[in-house]
């Protein structure tokens, strides 16, 4: 598994979580290694535009798309999940990797919320829940969220969130300051988490254990 290093974000914690759960992972910024890896993790914190520019400069965007064409699992975490989308509105309009059709949009700071002004970035632990239309069955079974309690708390740090055009890719929703947003998604072999499973304690590590199975399928 290749953890894509594009100069931003904390690759170390992703790597530690992989090690802890028995996933052989290497941090790399070599497009060749990314394109031929068994799976790709796209981590990242920071700004969307800068991240896309860096990916393009190092030809890593094409490498990720090539891995996807070869049927390899692609896992986006936080900003990495947002990069999977087709467009973002962070500091102007930017094109993303386009693996998932949809937008990346901002929380509105200063808006009144139940406990005062809404603070952005959103930093903290929130529950992740199955979308309402899926509550009747365990749609997480067999996937990256398998075995988690509906409503399990995960750690978030973000100012933007994704709005997929096709809501059927949404695997969990969370809410912040009255705004419900997509906190994880899956479309075939493409998976994204808005939260940080590697910083979400033992339940977050369970997601990595699931990913280990998901990747080897």
């Amino acid at each position: 598994m290749a953890i894509v290093d594009f100069g931003l974000g904390n690759l170390f914690s992703v790597k530690q979580a992989c090690q802890k759960t028995g996933i052989a992972a290497a941090v790399t910024s070599d497009p060749e290694e990314v394109a031929t890896a068994t799976a790709v993790i796209l981590p990242g914190v920071g700004a969307f535009g800068d991240a896309m520019q860096t990916l393009k400069m190092r030809s890593l965007d094409q490498a990720v798309l090539e891995a996807h064409r070869l049927g390899k699992p692609i896992v986006g975490i936080c900003l990495g999940m947002q990069l999977l989308m087709s467009t973002s509105h962070e500091f102007g309009k930017h094109d993303g990797l386009g693996l998932i059709e949809g937008d990346v949009v901002p929380f509105q700071p200063g808006r009144e919320s139940s406990n005062g002004r809404l603070k952005v970035p959103h930093i903290g632990w929130e529950p992740i829940c199955r979308p309402v239309e899926h509550t009747s069955s365990d749609t997480w079974a067999g996937g990256p969220l398998a075995g988690l309690r509906n409503g399990e708390y995960m750690y978030f740090v973000h100012s933007f969130y994704v709005k997929p055009s096709d809501v059927s890719v949404v695997t969990s929703i969370s809410s912040y300051g009255g705004t419900e947003f997509c906190s994880s998604l899956r479309k075939g072999r493409v998976v994204g988490f808005q939260f940080h499973p590697e910083r979400s304690g033992p339940e977050g590590l369970r997601i990595y254990e699931n990913l280990a199975r998901f990747i080897s399928k």
Binding site: V45, G46, A47, D50, V120, R149, Y176, G201, P202, G204
Partner: protein, 292 residues
């Protein structure tokens, strides 16, 4: 939204220390032991502050960060003596998720912009250490509460956010380590003047202080040291009778009970907060409420 509980571990050399009003540091034990206890006990994040780095310009924390990050899977913020992009990169590479900057940011505010551009603004916590003067006005201090800066903390808070701080940490120096309660007025005035989350630091001595700083002080998170450390330190002494350390270990040797604060566990605090109507991440099933 949920309010975060952040144990604060002040580190001097290889040891966890705690002082009063940022002076008279006592050695409590090895930070890794405390970090582990807090992780297992349900802490939402951890905060490591190198208590002497800005004085001696050294970064002794790196090894402790590496050992911690290998086994602890919650966010870790590291501060103390970080002066440049290179310093920040070093601690991030060692496993920190965020950095707290005070002294260097006051001396060179552009550092906030540089770090937020390089690593994302959510990586940058600007730490404000404010001293309340006899006339009721506040002043920012640097170098672990040692040096005056002449800066007004409320103006500085807004400037820091403008430059790219993703979060602010506000310490009331007068209250730090005293157990007399957070300075919730200071916290509220900062929290109301900025759009980013604010972490309240310094002064917690009992459970009521915590609900007060959240409800009256509008804190988005709070850090605790003495309240959490002292109960764990007495366990640590029992388990590490051979603990020999440099520095002031008289306190440990005498097995003193620190009477200014009510010792508590994260589990007890979370139960209390829920009862008080403060939303927080509940303890996971199977977590021992007495641990950490």
């Amino acid at each position: 939204m949920t309010i975060r509980i952040i144990p604060r571990l002040d580190i001097k050399g290889p040891n966890l220390v705690k002082g009063i009003q940022m002076e008279g540091l006592r050695v409590l034990g090895k930070p890794e032991y405390f970090a582990r206890r807090y992780y297992e006990g349900g802490a939402d994040e951890l905060l490591y502050i190198d208590a002497v780095a800005s004085l001696y310009c050294r970064n002794s924390l790196v090894e402790i960060i590496e050992r911690t990050a290998r086994e602890i899977f919650i966010p870790l913020t590291v501060g103390g003596g970080l002066r440049s992009i290179e310093d920040v990169r070093t601690v991030l590479r060692a496993g920190a998720d965020k950095v707290a900057i005070n002294t260097a940011a006051i001396q060179r505010p552009e550092l906030i912009r540089d770090v937020s551009r390089a690593f994302g603004s959510s990586t940058v916590v600007v730490s404000i250490e404010a001293f309340r003067k006899p006339d009721g006005k506040y002043e920012c201090y640097t170098d672990y509460g040692r040096e005056r800066s002449g800066k007004d903390p409320f103006e500085w808070a807004m400037k820091a956010v403008e430059l790219g701080a993703g979060e602010l940490m506000v310490t009331a120096i007068n209250r730090e380590g005293t157990g007399e309660g957070f300075d919730f007025e200071l916290v509220r005035r900062v929290a109301e003047s900025v759009s980013v989350p604010v972490i309240a630091c310094g002064g917690a001595g009992k459970l009521e202080h915590i609900s007060e700083v959240v409800q009256k002080g509008k804190a988005d998170a709070f850090s605790l040291a003495s309240m959490l450390h002292y109960p764990v330190a007495s366990d640590y002494q029992v388990q590490n009778a051979q603990f020999a350390a440099e520095g002031n270990i008289e306190f440990l040797r005498k097995q003193c009970v620190y009477s200014r604060v009510q010792g508590s566990s994260i589990g007890e605090i979370k139960v209390y907060l829920e009862r008080s109507g403060v939303p927080c991440r509940p303890l996971a099933v199977g977590m021992v409420s007495g641990a950490g």
